[in-house]
Subunit: 504 residues, 2 copies
């Protein structure tokens, strides 16, 4: 009888009788063994109480007691509304990533640079395109099976049947009125008080970001950004002829606000600050409320725009819904940009922007740049967001991403070499991993592709050449086994590369 | 017996017998009377031969002869593949619009100006928004009933059923591969030889135009444009901080190419020329091939970009398919921009661009600005364009627009005051009408709204204050009666305003 079978059937009466211990202990031991020898792996879901009772023909009292034993032994965890899961060994085996140091915090004036990241990114893209079959741990959206594919499809079919002219009638300036009204209601939970007219729909969050930058800067101006910084923002800055001033960010609390305060004193030419307050890409950091308040105050006092890029807020693992920077805005300093691309539907390019005191200019630029968005996607979204299905989906998505992150964290801790550091993110799907100093992320990126795995090298997250020994891993797939195996492969690769570098 | 009834039933045998003339003449006379007293109106479709034979219980020979009589009397016209229509009285009652004069052609250096059209347009938009019920003769897309609404709806439903993850899987960089391949095949008829990789999908033609301008200019640069010029282009120039140099355009042949040649000599700072070769908005002009060839040659020699904005090519009324400027391009001088917004589906924001020798830069800018387009609309388009349905739709659309234009031209000729001039457009839906000098188009615009009709005043088609006594009318609705009535109202208004202005 294999271990797997032993989990699916009840122990035979003869075996039960031969064992003098209480039945709940016998069952708990059986699961303990399964976890110990890897039949059940960290993050796996335990049977529901009901299933456990049926499978082993035991009472609720026995089932409850078995789970209590496993829980006390730190082998399984209860998760609210989700059930029990095999516990993931704490990732404390790896030290947390370094916090920005004092030298970083005291930036020297003159450090703002015109952005020139495009050729680096192009080289990376053209390299990984040569490996189309590589497992993608370098992406930034999850796979369709993490999203409510069937429900959205149904909503779209219904909308098309009900409104036959959805494809042939022109849409509304600034976007579908019903969607903008739903959005204005929904963002109350982020502490944002706006009306439908304060919402302009955009082609994804990236168009929102471009419009925000265009509204408040001229080519040659300086924009303060977090370091490390999402490479898409660096590309936008480059394409608009802007300079980036990289402000250090903490892997746990995000932008170092006091470093920004210092930079604002020494760089009077800063026209805007761009911040991802929740699950910063690539850090996964979440700004504490006190930092948010201070940041908004700083920018307001300096009279510059604070551009909030907030597409991951709803993926934060927290008891209560985090508040956006915009919640602290009293004078229109904050331009709020976000999208539904990461949280709901990567196939819909729907984002939105509130332009703060530059809202009218943002509206003009959006009209001049690309007119209104297509009606169909917006009608589907409006309908979906009106129901409780979106909230249910978000809870499920957060749960599934947490399981994936825990598995991945365990695999990283188990297989990467000494000298590797990372801080577990506060939600979402990114791991920002510091490799041993001697491992170049560019070389690692190329070697990983040869191993059939795509990662993002750290070089694209800075315009100033920082982070060459960092990589960003994402856990976008629900095929946990595959990702697990890939991470272990990457760990072995990093170990070999670190050892090789040390060999004289 | 009313005239209407007399058309639907056969003359009674007693009447036929009483009339000694041949039956085909009696029937022809009956229709002549119906046309004469307005029961049948210019542009109305005549019964098919088969319907005529059945209705009047006559032979094919009699039916054919009746139509021949009416045709010889210039009362009806045969249209290939469409049948017979009541002839529209030639609009020659009104003189053609003025051609650019010599003074216009010899532009003085230094005439390039930073564009500041936004406040003018905003004022117009906020004015007409106060009249939401006004009949819109100021729009630039036709109403959904001129487009294949049901067929596109069906295609979209099918695509969604077949590809459930259309909304939740991320799309392709540069756009859907199948669509880009269909486009590359289709544009062969425009004389454009490109592959799928040379096509980048955009959010409508306006995003394509923005990308083209961004690829070849820096803020402060000068761009040569046609005068009059589509206000959307002027808005794009303004939002990008560019200067416009307005080059005169002829109402029949478009851009005055020799005026451009002169401007290129006197303005060495021109970085790009933007031209709408087919059915220029608002002129409705179509460039002759010789002009196209010369224009491409000029730009190539000057080493500047020729940006071709070509969304109306397929609406040109011509025996053969017109060739785009890009067909004459041998060295990547021409950036080709177009969309399916005007020809197929105003509810789809799908355009595309070929960036000529700036193609890679255009691709980078598109990615940085808004990533890829949504997959759904592209999949629908690819499927629809693969079939013959698109060609059939275009033929029908051109026919219906022609009927509308003829009716509208007749109404304009019949009701506008002396001093009104216009050149019938070569297709599409725009009329560029020169009012008597003493009528201000801004005042006319406001007065027309009070009469329940929206028009576009000429002031928004120039950054240099030209065209104040011009208006653009469009014939976007299939409700011909309503449009007819509205045009007559506008004619009476213009007559009153012209008379009033002359009164001392």
């Amino acid at each position: 009888m294999t271990q797997t079978t032993s989990l699916q059937d009840s122990p035979r009466s003869a075996e039960r009788a031969a064992d003098s211990r209480p039945l709940y202990r016998q069952l708990a031991d059986q699961y303990r063994r399964a976890i110990g020898n890897g039949v059940l792996r960290p993050g796996d879901r335990m049977p529901s109480m009901r299933a456990f009772m049926q499978r082993h023909s035991v009472s609720l009292a026995t089932a409850t007691e078995s789970y209590r034993v496993l829980e006390r032994a730190a082998l399984i965890d209860a998760r609210p509304r989700a059930g029990y899961f095999v516990r993931v060994p704490p990732a404390a085996a790896l030290p947390a990533a370094a916090e920005p140091d004092a030298a970083d915090l005291a930036l020297q004036p003159g450090a703002a640079q015109f952005v020139g990241i495009h050729s680096t990114i192009s080289a990376i893209v053209s390299t990984y395109r040569r490996y189309p079959d590589a497992l993608n741990l370098g992406g930034s959206t999850a796979s369709p099976d993490l999203y409510p594919t069937a429900a959205l499809q149904k909503t779209a079919l219904r909308a098309l049947r009900r409104q036959p002219t959805l494809l042939t009638a022109a849409g509304h300036d600034h976007g579908d009125p019903a969607l903008r009204a739903v959005i204005a209601r929904r963002v109350l939970e982020a502490g944002i008080q706006i009306g439908a007219d304060d919402v302009i729909m955009t082609h994804g969050g990236i168009e929102a970001m471009n419009l925000a930058l265009r509204a408040v800067t001229q080519p040659g101006d300086t924009v303060a950004v977090e370091s490390p910084c999402f490479f898409g923002l660096l590309q936008a800055l480059e394409s608009l002829g802007l300079r980036a001033l990289e402000i250090p960010a903490s892997p746990s609390t995000g932008l170092a606000v006091e470093a920004l305060a210092f930079a604002l004193q020494t760089h009077p030419d800063i026209k805007a600050v761009v911040v991802v307050p929740h699950l910063q890409n690539p850090l996964g950091s979440v700004m504490p409320d006190a930092h948010k308040a201070r940041l908004v105050e700083l920018c307001s006092q300096a009279g510059i725009a604070l551009i909030e890029d907030d597409p991951y807020r709803e993926l934060v693992d927290a008891a209560s819904s985090p508040r956006s920077l915009k919640a602290w805005d009293t004078d229109g300093t904050v331009i709020h940009c976000t999208s539904f691309n990461k949280t709901l539907a990567p196939g819909l390019r729907v984002g939105w922007i509130n332009g703060g005191r530059w809202h009218a200019r943002v509206g003009m630029l959006k009209f001049a740049q690309s007119r209104h968005n297509e009606p169909l996607a917006q009608v589907v979204l409006a309908e979906f967001l009106e129901t409780s299905a979106y909230e249910r989906h978000l809870r499920r998505l957060r749960d599934r991403l947490r399981i994936q992150r825990e598995r991945m964290a365990a695999a990283i801790a188990a297989s990467f070499p000494d000298g590797t550091r990372f801080t577990p993110p506060g939600g979402g799907m990114f791991f920002w991993i510091e490799l041993p100093r001697e491992v170049s992320s560019s070389a690692f990126f190329e070697a990983a592709l040869l191993d059939g795995i795509r990662v993002m090298p750290g070089t694209v997250y800075s315009n100033a050449g920082r982070f060459d020994h960092f990589i960003r891993l994402s856990c976008p797939s629900t095929d946990i086994e595959l990702a697990d195996e890939a991470v272990r492969k990457l760990g072995r690769l990093a170990t070999r590369m670190a050892a090789h570098a040390k060999t004289p």
